[in-house]
């Protein structure tokens, strides 16, 4: 016997809005079809209902009822995000999840006894998870999609039709729960048909003859039968949250405030799947109809909303939108959280998530192109810098090999004074420092650069280096190692092509 669950939110258009704009909670709010004053109100909050505002009014009429009423136009992006969040909640217990057109989410809950002791407990768990996503969902469980949807709407929180009892439970319920078209409902009412049981008692052929194919569908629905089986949708690779703002935001701080809420929602949804965010796509609707689209890859997948916000904020500080922002959408690309295999012979590194968060924060502080692992550049130029993404996975190093390397570096000892031998290092000048060079009898005599200079005490060179003649920017240099009277030993070169003298580092 199949068991189907349904997550349904009353007034989902409004719930989707309150989810991303929680400041509206507890206030009289109405959601209209569009932003014009003639458009119709679709959904109202209980506070607005108490004031006398009801669906079907025009926005102008609703505003006349109360000055405190906040009217927001329906936003498809926020609605889809809310449906997506409901789907994410359902996927925590089921692999087969099907979102319906009206925003309800249906899922296969056969075999859920492995996860929860009973169906009421399963419903309670799901209700709690939906609540944490900002969606007060009602849950129904029955033998079919149609019955589960009715169980959710009728139950007022949790509605469960036990196996085999679907028809009996549906029979006394009002006909309106089958969502008949207005004309059908009027016809059925004129026949005295009031409940689902009354419809189920009618002969299907006769009803189809009088009401058309819709009549036959109505009878099947009254029996709790589905037109199509449950079709599972795959887990999305990208999670999107969106909000439309009342007015254009020009400054960064209020925009970050809005972004924080969206990122919290995204992080919550990713956490339901045990996924992390690998990249954030920021889409802004600007005043005047222009768009602003940026894809911000993270240094490593992270679940920390603070890290995601830091990256987005750092980018906006660096490249602010050119016009006031009227709408925001954030898309998070999901990635698996990496697990780490510990090594007997290698010291433990940072946990992958902590490392990812730290690298993302460092990239936000210093710039993404200034954080990474240095490596040899594929270039013949000695001063080219290359940076690779930093990861904690860097091959195997056995303790024995490490000890051997340390022994190689061990200092030869002399009596009384410890002697340390180490390879000399070069401290690079980036960019190379421009030099003034003075000669005496054809020999380098005096060198002056920014912050250093002096007479040449010792000189070694030149070593000629040229290359990349096959490109548009070849180089040809004569390198010297010079000790100056200021005490420094510098690596300088003469650029033969342009005739300039430069220093690209100091030995230290």
């Amino acid at each position: 016997m199949p068991r189907i669950g349904c997550l349904w939110v009353r007034g989902l258009e409004l719930a989707a809005l309150l989810r991303v704009d929680p400041e509206l909670r507890g206030r009289p709010v109405a959601v209209s079809m569009a932003s014009t004053s003639r458009s119709l109100v679709r959904t109202v909050s209980p506070e607005a209902e108490a004031l006398g505002v009801c669906p079907g009014m025009t926005v102008a009429q609703a505003r006349l009822v109360s000055d405190d009423l906040r009217v927001r136009p329906f936003h498809a992006g926020a609605f889809e995000a809310a449906v997506g969040a409901l789907g994410d909640v359902a996927r925590t217990v089921s692999a087969r999840v099907e979102p319906a057109a009206d925003g309800a989410v249906l899922f296969d809950c056969a075999g859920s006894g492995v996860l929860c002791a009973s169906e009421p407990e399963l419903a309670t768990v799901l209700g709690g998870r939906a609540e944490r996503q900002g969606l007060p969902a009602w849950i129904g469980i029955a033998d079919s999609k149609q019955a589960a949807r009715i169980a959710a709407r009728e139950g007022g929180g949790v509605g469960i039709f036990l196996p085999g009892q679907t028809r009996a439970r549906l029979a006394p319920l009002p006909l309106a729960l089958l969502d008949p078209e207005a004309a059908q409902a009027a016809t059925l009412a004129s026949w005295g048909v009031r409940t689902i049981g009354d419809v189920a008692a009618l002969p299907a052929g006769a009803l189809a003859h009088r009401l058309g194919p819709a009549g036959a569908r109505l009878v099947r629905a009254a029996h709790g039968e589905d037109d199509a089986p449950l079709v599972g949708q795959p887990v999305p690779e990208t999670f999107v949250e969106a909000i439309r703002l009342d007015y254009g935001i020009e400054r960064l701080e209020p925009l970050v405030f809005v972004l924080r809420r969206l990122i919290d929602c995204l992080a919550g949804r990713l956490a339901l799947h045990g996924l992390a965010c690998a990249a954030v796509e920021l889409r802004l609707e600007l005043e005047g109809g222009d768009g602003y689209l940026r894809r911000l890859p993270l240094a490593a997948p992270t679940v920390e909303s603070r890290t995601m916000l830091t990256v987005v904020r750092a980018h906006l500080e660096h490249a602010p939108p050119p016009a006031p922002v009227e709408g925001v959408a954030l898309a998070a690309t999901a990635a698996r959280v990496r697990s780490v295999q510990l090594d007997f012979f290698r010291p433990n590194g940072p946990p992958p998530m902590a490392l990812a968060a730290t690298i993302a924060r460092l990239a936000a502080l210093c710039g993404a192109d200034r954080v990474g692992a240095p490596h040899d550049a594929a270039s013949h130029r000695p001063d080219v810098v290359a940076l690779a993404p930093f990861t904690a996975d860097h091959g195997d190093v056995s303790a024995r090999a490490a000890a051997g390397l340390c022994r190689e570096r061990a200092a030869p000892s002399a009596a009384g004074v410890t002697a340390i031998v180490a390879p000399v290092a070069l401290r690079a000048f980036r960019p190379p420092a421009r030099l003034e060079v003075f000669r005496n009898a054809g020999r380098l005599d005096y060198v002056r650069g920014p912050g250093f200079g002096g007479r040449v005490v010792h000189l070694a060179g030149p070593w000629r280096l040229s290359g990349e003649w096959w490109t548009a920017d070849p180089f040809a240099r004569e390198y010297y190692d010079v000790e100056l009277s200021d005490g420094g030993v510098y690596r300088i070169y003469h650029d033969v092509r342009c005739g300039r003298w430069l220093a690209d580092g100091v030995y230290d």
């Binding site: 460092l362 390879p423 401290r427 690079a428 200021d486």
Partner: protein, 183 residues
Amino acid sequence: MGGVTELVGPRSSGRTAVAYAVAAAVTATGALAACVDLPDALDAGHAQAAGIRLANVLWVRPPDERVALRVAEQILGAGGFRLVLIDLGEAPSPRVAGMPAVWMRLGRAAVRSGAIVVTVGGRRSAGACAALSLEISRRQVSFSGEGGPCPLFEGIDGRIRLRRSRALAGLAADARLFAATAA
């Protein structure tokens, strides 16, 4: 046990060679090291020649001293890094030394995470927060074959003096350093 170690010395004294030797010893065991490179002076070729496993090094080039210290704090906070090398440049700004609270936090974070924080600079910065302070001076620079057709830079002969040690108070110790070229 972690702590802050200062390597202080003038240009071409060999202080960077000492710092690279420490980094090479740490990364050779497979441990991770971070290099907070304020003057953007790390040369990958020489670092590799010194024995540093570059894949184990997180290289960060902060824009100023304040951010450099913040970066070091973040890295220590993440845990798992055995060495954090802070290169403050030739003449660190007096502002760096004027942040004792930051150095104190760094010292505590180093102890907590068991990391060695090594600062390289032209003057002392961490003050009393440094567990160890080594002064490195240049004795002489060696060039071979002078006067001949092909002189070569051989290396720097230096001296390391223990200026401060929290663990070994009152101890005076010297070491001789020879920073040699790979050739």
